[in-house]
């Protein structure tokens, strides 16, 4: 009973706090006056923008927004890559050397794309300079890039100019991510998460064994990891490790932190278009999907593994921590895959097949609250297609937010949704065709198929979690997932900006009696159907071969 109650409180806390943050996001990204913030930050932001030589004016095309985004992201990546390849001795007490080139490349792309898939053991390969200067840096700027894109897309849909990338990125940091991370870091710190530059400690245990205590500047790292939907661990066991997630309370707050910004972004969308009924219905839609996944996963984990009934009873605790228990680890796996965070507080590989099914479903849909900024963008793409379909069904010209949805929009929307399966299914098929040794599969049967598909789905969705038994530290995995990481990030971003900028240029039309309203329960229901059909049925064959087959094996 207690896990269900805590899960309900946790999700309710998100729903209750999302509107406040939503209003803040709206003010920040619509350039509204915020006296308390402006007083200190505005002179700094203006000064910094002037220093880089930007006048802060909105770009007049999608390219005008995209180009500085691509240039700065390439440079962000170059800084991190250099630090990972070289790893100077400074702030590197255990004297780790530079990473192998393919691993450095994968790690850089992974953090640059807000994915944080890790094919390395950080506490055995990264010094504090790399953790801070490469990993933490990329976690902040990739999350800010996501937010910037999300709000550029929202602006386009609401008929506003698309905005200025440098200004958006800066404000995403100064007014959202940095203050929120500092607050969360303080909370984590007093809850036991280390924050020190003292070297990891090699100690002798009570029985005389050796143990490395991987302490470091973790609290701030952890805060932006959760709030920014990053998910990369300071240590390889991620949020299962007591230094990253020491108590039940930090676990609950971390779960809230993963959800709050994407939920608030959807709320902010409603404020941008002046229709909060629309955003509340969208929130209801994604939370309904989240809730279904939560019930499925928590029930599956708490029911336990029938294969082990001869020896034990109770929930599935394999690969889980006792302080969170089976149920809340199930909740976490739904939230971390739905929000594209990818942090884990237990092994998803050892989870029940229905939990893995839910996780994959979330990775395929990409909107179950969704990633930092990108979640709302994908959601709007699905809404656009639902508008188009319903328009066809009732024989009216489809309209959304006072603009006609025409060929160009539908083409862009379809392209955006096609990118994801391309970067998941094709490399997964190639890898599986290469045989088990190339794939590095560690669990037999249909679970092995899940391991491979999951790794690419996680990369292309910019999530970062994995079925971690997979032997993914090879050049093949590093290089092929790099393609999925980059393709799953920058192609949709370019297409989304083009779609949004094209949409805002269309003439606004007054609603007529023939206009199909999109802020109704009925239309939201149709959107849900479109989501499930387009998003999940594309992947149904691999779901059937992977987790569904595994679930049937276990049940028989």
């Amino acid at each position: 009973m207690l896990p269900w109650l805590l899960a309900a409180v946790n999700l309710a806390a998100v729903v209750l706090t999302a509107p406040s943050l939503g209003r803040h996001l709206f003010e920040v990204f619509d350039g509204r006056p915020q006296p308390a913030w402006d007083r200190w930050l505005k002179p700094i932001e203006t000064g910094l923008l002037r220093w880089i030589g930007d006048n802060g004016r909105s770009a007049d095309s999608a390219i005008g927004y995209l180009l500085p985004l691509l240039i700065s992201n390439a440079l962000f990546g170059a800084v991190a890559l250099t630090l990972l390849l070289v790893q100077p001795a400074w702030l590197n007490p255990l004297g780790f050397g530079g990473l192998r080139w393919d691993l450095a490349l994968h790690t850089t792309f992974s953090f640059l794309t807000n994915t944080d898939q890790q094919h390395l053991v950080p506490e055995q390969s990264l010094g504090n300079l790399a953790q801070l200067g490469a990993m933490q840096f990329l976690m902040f700027v990739s999350a800010a890039t996501g937010l910037a894109v999300g709000f550029a897309v929202i602006r386009g849909f609401s008929g506003r100019p698309i905005g200025n990338f440098h200004l958006d990125l800066l404000r995403a940091l100064t007014r959202v991510l940095i203050p929120a991370s500092l607050l969360l870091a303080l909370f984590l710190l007093v809850s036991g998460v280390p924050m020190t530059l003292a070297p990891p400690l090699e100690i002798t245990t009570l029985e005389g064994g050796q143990q490395l205590l991987p302490r470091g500047p973790i609290a701030l790292f952890e805060a932006i990891k959760q709030l920014g939907e990053n998910g990369g661990g300071f240590v390889s066991t991620n949020s299962a490790h007591p230094y990253e997630n020491p108590t039940l309370l930090t676990n609950l707050v971390s779960t809230w932190a993963m959800l709050i910004i994407p939920a608030a972004t959807i709320d902010a969308f409603g404020r941008f278009v002046g229709n909060r009924r629309q955003s509340n219905l969208l929130l209801a839609l994604v939370f309904a999907l989240l809730l279904i996944g939560t019930v499925v996963s928590m029930a599956a984990e708490q029911a336990g593994n029938p294969m082990l009934e001869r020896w034990l009873s109770g929930g599935n605790l394999q690969g889980k921590e006792l302080r969170f228990g089976a149920g809340l680890t199930g909740l976490w796996s739904v939230v971390t895959t739905g929000t594209m965070t990818g942090a884990v507080n237990g092994s998803i590989d050892a989870a029940m097949p229905l939990t893995i099914l839910t996780a994959l479903f979330n990775l395929f849909l990409q909107v179950v609250v969704g990633g930092q900024g990108t979640g709302i963008a994908y959601l709007l793409v699905y809404v656009l297609l639902a508008v188009f379909l319903t328009g066809l069904m009732v024989g009216r010209t489809p309209e959304f937010l006072g603009r006609k949805v025409e060929k160009a929009q539908v083409v862009w929307a379809s392209l955006i949704l096609l990118i994801h399966p391309l970067f998941v299914l094709i490399p997964a098929a190639l890898t599986l065709a290469g045989g088990a040794s190339l794939a590095g599969i560690s669990n037999p049967g249909s679970h092995g198929i899940s391991q491979v598909v999951y790794e690419y789905a996680s990369a292309a969705a910019n999530n970062g979690s994995g079925l971690e038994g997979l032997g993914d530290g090879t050049a093949w995995w590093n290089l092929t997932t790099s393609l999925s990481l980059l393709g799953g990030r920058f192609l949709p971003i370019a297409a989304l900006l083009a779609l949004a900028d094209g949409f805002r240029r269309k003439p606004a039309i007054e609603p007529s009696p023939g206009t199909l309203r999109t802020d109704t329960g009925l239309f939201t229901g149709v959107t849900a159907v479109v989501l499930v059909i387009l998003g999940a049925l594309t992947f149904f064959p691999v779901l059937a071969l992977g987790p569904i087959a595994e679930a049937l094996t276990l049940a028989s």
């Binding site: 896990p3 910094l48 840096f137 303080l186 002798t204 294969m307 690969g319 680890t329 971690e468």
Partner: protein, 191 residues
């Protein structure tokens, strides 16, 4: 704007953000951490006779019969359907049975996620008390008193069920043993 100017702007932007997100916010927080929570900031270390013997948060592996034993670690990624998992659980259950625990608690048979789970359930701790009493030649009642003293959660929100911190329990066990084997010197009255 020329490509060079765009690139130059990007370089300045990158430098600025690197400084902001790596130096400007991290250093004050490191300082603040030493002020508000110096113990947590440096890893919640436990010292004995001046030596660091562990962290309150981090579990240790125990194999000696004289210590309370933690959860197994090492294979957290075995799938639910993997026959190796069932074999591993069966082998662990047999080990516990030969050590006199007929029905070991579920978490003693399943690997923790972190490999350093600091906790076991109260039931898992109680199952091991007869062995500890025998090995340490201590009365069972004295050991039973240690359990509530080293319980964590659920009220403090450290854990979702009442659990025992194994390392803290074992340190107390060692203190108990020294206290009962060596006659304790008279405690000088503090001024």
């Amino acid at each position: 704007m020329s490509a060079v100017a765009q690139l130059w702007r990007g370089v300045r932007f990158t430098l600025l953000l690197w400084f902001l997100t790596v130096v400007v916010i991290t250093l004050p927080l490191l300082g603040l951490a030493r002020l508000v929570a110096p113990d947590a900031a440096s890893g919640s270390l436990i010292r004995r006779d001046g030596q660091v013997v562990g962290s309150r948060l981090i579990g240790q592996g125990f194999s000696s019969a004289r210590y309370l034993q933690s959860r197994p670690a090492g294979a957290p990624n075995l799938a639910a359907s993997n026959p190796e998992l069932a074999a591993r659980v069966a082998a662990t259950a047999r080990r516990w049975q030969s050590a006199g625990v007929a029905q070991p608690a579920a978490e003693l048979l399943q690997d923790s996620a972190s490999g350093v789970d600091p906790h076991i359930s109260l039931a898992a701790a109680r199952q091991q008390l007869p062995r500890l009493a025998r090995e340490r030649q201590l009365p069972l009642a004295e050991l039973e008193r240690l359990i509530p003293q080293h319980q964590e959660g659920p009220l403090g929100l450290q854990a979702i069920e009442p659990v025992v911190n194994v390392l803290r329990f074992n340190l107390a066990l060692d203190r108990l043993a020294t206290a009962s084997t060596t006659p304790s010197p008279p405690v000088p009255a503090r001024p």
